[in-house]
Amino acid sequence: MNLDRRDFLRLSALAAATAMVDRRAEAAPTSPAPAAGIRWQKAPCRFCGTGCHVQVGVQNEKVVAIQGDPEAEVNKGLLCVKGYHVGLALYGQDRLTQPQLRKNGKLTPISWEEAIDVAARRILAAPDKFAIYSSGQSTIPEGYAISKFLRGGLGSNQTEPNARLCMASAVTGFLSTYGVDEPAGCYDDLDHCDVLVLWGNNMAEMHPVLFSRFIDRRSRGEKPLLIELATRRTRTTPFADHFLLFKPQSDLAILNGVAHLLLAWGKHDAAFVEKYCSFRRDTEKPSLAGQPMSFDDYKKALAEYTPARVSELSGVPAEQIELLARLFARRDLRITSTWCMGFNQHTRGTNVNRLCHGLHLLSGHFGRPGDAPTSLTGQPSACGTAREVGTLCHTLPGGRLVENAEHRAETEQIWNVPAGRIAPKPGYHTALMWEKFCTPTDKGGDLRTMFVQATNPGQSLPNLHKLFRAKKGLEDKFLIVSEVYPSATTELADLVLPAALWVEKNGMFGNSERRTQQWFRMVPPPGQARDDAWMILALAHRLLELGHPGMKDRDGRFLFAQKNEAGAEVPVWDWPHYYDLNVDRALFEEYRRFSAYKHKNLAPYDEYVKTRGLRWPVVQQPDGSWRETKFRFAEGDDPFVKKGAGVQFYHSTTKNDRAQIWFAPYEKATEEPDQEFPFWLCTGRVLEHWHTGTMTRRIAPLQGAMPSAYVEMHRDDAAERGLRNGDLVALRTRRGEVRLPLWIDGRGQPPRGSLFVPFFDERLLINELTLGDIDPISKEPDYKKCAATVARVAPNPQP
């Protein structure tokens, strides 16, 4: 046998690899079924904010296969490992299939009639002490129904989406820079850019399809540059041309450092700035509006951010900061920036978002394909539902504000409710909402009943002991949870409502690039599970029956009354009749009337049926067709930009078509490592699991690949403490302790002095340890930085 050394090594690896095939984790055995007879239909993926379209294969009323949709512009037929297995999310054996009420401490099956009645009476008893906590996974019609029910029906603004925990700082960043929310660019930028800068964004794991969209260009012979700024090495890092490892919180300093160099070299885009921008900084007390500043003051403020100083603050070598500045200084390059939770979950999240937009504006890297600062979302409809419909406590549909009397009047007009129905005072933001719910009533906890839909706050809120677990034992607090599986949230629920999931109902999502997507119900939900939107309609109707005056409009009609094409009233609140007409379509067509005010124009529902989503603003052409917009504010593509303007920021906060370039200083994190807690603790996600893992932990191919949470540590830190790979360690912060296996050189590699724990594992709730300090403007908590310490509990039994 003639083997050379390389072949021998390959053979060794191969033989070893195949010898270790593990039966345990193989895909479940499948019973034979013919491929013929599979009916394929489009739907956006249920998981992240990328918004890939899948083709769902249905046979005998069950999902049996998933394919990437070749017609989808977002993913062009490709998916990630979660997306390919999204169909399995419906079939976990412990699906909730019946309403349950806690009686004598135990969840007991009840009927839907009783469940809706119990919930309605709780609300009726104290409408102002009731709140709905929904989600960036709620569909657009669901979010709209919630907003109308609460604001237009109960006259209350106590509604928040979990998107407060992930997107709020991006929103305030966009609002304070452009005067209107959501990215100007889109995913096409990834096809056009020469340089992609990932600001603390582990794109290979969190937005894998977008990452492939960029790096696959290399297979076509292109050489786009990938620059990664991060606080640890991840699966993204091996693909990066330059890796800038920075100390937590110093992103503020780096952004200022690059801006400083551009000015010092005279390499900023003076013409662009002169024509389209003005400068701004924060007020004494942080605010969304801030105050104007002159260019000279801006320059002066940046003067201290020399490469040497920034290098000292961030740990990034001065040459690398200069490298970044040299790229931004070149107008011939197209530069796209993306970021996600690294920027947003930050006690200075608004500022760091502002600075990134500012850098693009200052350097003129804006308004051309491939030149854009774009924030990515983690949830499939954080944009579509939480941000556009407006389920935040201070927003009304279509970018309107609760505090603005004109906006309230317009909304009341469209809803046909009496003037003054909408309360002028915003509700509580997420952290405050849960604090008020988990505080005893006699100590100021003035929320008594919470209705949670499509999210798992029992695992995803920060500082869980304070913001969630404290609910336990508070007799007069009542938690209603609509869920598909038992979760950390249903554990404390008083009323559990079984929900229909994804293609078990009609739905619409809005992804990160302003793309509104639609799908139809394809399979029936299991048992008695029902649609989230129906729950809201049924509650509203029960309240109407119980005599709540707010459930009628000016003409005495039920708020959610629906008529079919023949003009006959359809009792959609009655479940057997819910699908007699398309409630999604009806709610969307009503919501669509709100969309023009902020130039987020939406097409009719039926247009979305035909396409794999359309990016707003969508405007009708003279020939009757509907045209989407790829690059906002850019002449030639955005229909609302005046001819000859080039770039026009038509929602400018200063009313002069200018965007704001903000200055914000570097500030220390609110909790930094010290002697007692010497490590930075960062939390986040992994490729195989989606957020709190409620769905993905029930999918064997995903769960097998990533079975449990762990703590990542640098090998030298471990060696110093005598810790070995696989040891069980106790991770402690000022808020709690969790015991996890230690993983050295595992999925990610943090630098010395840093730890990382993923948050998907409900058995090991890392959010019992996280800080919960919030950004003063966006009210979004920081999950990425707090101080922790580690000690060994037990050695690895099989080291």
Partner: protein, 270 residues
């Protein structure tokens, strides 16, 4: 012999012994040195892709010189892809060379399909990785799966879609890598009632006509990755010399989402 000659003779002998010693040392040292360098280099990645954080302390070694692996790294091998490796080539069975180009029997085809099904949640799902992987790069996967590899009955299938090279985006290992086997730290297996679509056979227009492709071919560009010499034995083509597969084997309509591609079709409300 004069005393002077004796001394000269002794020093000559001493010099010869010394020369022989030096020569032996030099020759063996040269080969040992070569050997040593090669084995070290094979255990590490090229110098230059490392940072201060990575496995090797570059600080102590001059640039360009690989240093010995650290003990922690030896430990890591225990759950790496070679962890279960014992170098017994006798365990491998030879595939008769003639068999590779003979048409597969029905039984072989069934065995291959069963193997294929075992690694997929449903027909069309990306296969799981049946062996532990390191977390590093796609280059590690492509070392074997780039060219494809068949050594006796061991197969590393060739990548069917070379332009898409972020392997772990779609392919997850069935188990691990994981730092500990401590059962207390691992959750019980999940229960899931999903029943996936299973593979079907292609159809023939007339007896003897070439069958249609019984699976989707979107994104794939190399039929021989599965149907060639580095594919599952029972799926091999009997005519690898004919390279334009789709010339005779039309994509099966049921798998190509043609209906779904047409706007409006399949959009009726249930």
């Amino acid at each position: 012999m004069s005393e002077r000659e004796q001394r000269r003779e002794r020093s000559r002998r001493l010099a010869r012994v010394l020369a022989a010693f030096v020569l032996t040392a030099a020759v063996s040292g040269f080969f040992m040195g070569l050997q040593g360098n090669r084995s070290q280099l094979s255990l590490t990645r090229p110098v230059g892709t490392f940072s201060a954080d990575s496995l090797i302390r570059t600080a102590e070694a001059p640039p360009g010189v690989a240093t010995a692996v650290r003990y922690e790294q030896v430990d890591r091998r225990k759950y790496g892809p070679n962890a279960g490796w014992t170098s017994d080539l006798r365990q491998l069975q030879e595939t008769p060379a003639a068999a590779l180009s003979a048409p597969a029997s029905e039984e072989e085809r069934r065995a291959a399909l069963a193997e294929r099904t075992r690694r997929r949640a449903f027909d069309g799902a990306p296969p799981t990785i049946p062996h532990p992987i390191l977390q590093d790069t796609s280059a590690a996967c492509l070392a074997c799966h780039g060219p494809g590899l068949r050594i006796k009955d061991r197969i590393a299938s060739k990548i069917s879609h070379p332009p898409y090279a972020n392997c772990t985006q779609c392919h997850a290992p069935t188990a691990g890598p994981w730092p500990t086997q401590d059962a207390r730290l691992l959750p019980p297996p999940v229960g899931n009632d999903f029943v996936g679509a299973t593979p079907t056979a292609g159809t023939r227009a007339t007896p003897g006509a070439p069958p249609t492709v019984p699976h989707g071919i979107a994104l794939r560009s190399d039929c021989l990755s599965c149907h060639g010499p580095a594919g599952l034995y029972g799926l091999r083509t009997s005519h690898p010399e004919r390279q334009s597969c789709l010339q005779c084997h039309a994509p099966g309509a049921a798998h190509e989402l043609r209906a779904a591609r047409t706007p409006g079709v399949g959009a009726a409300q249930p």
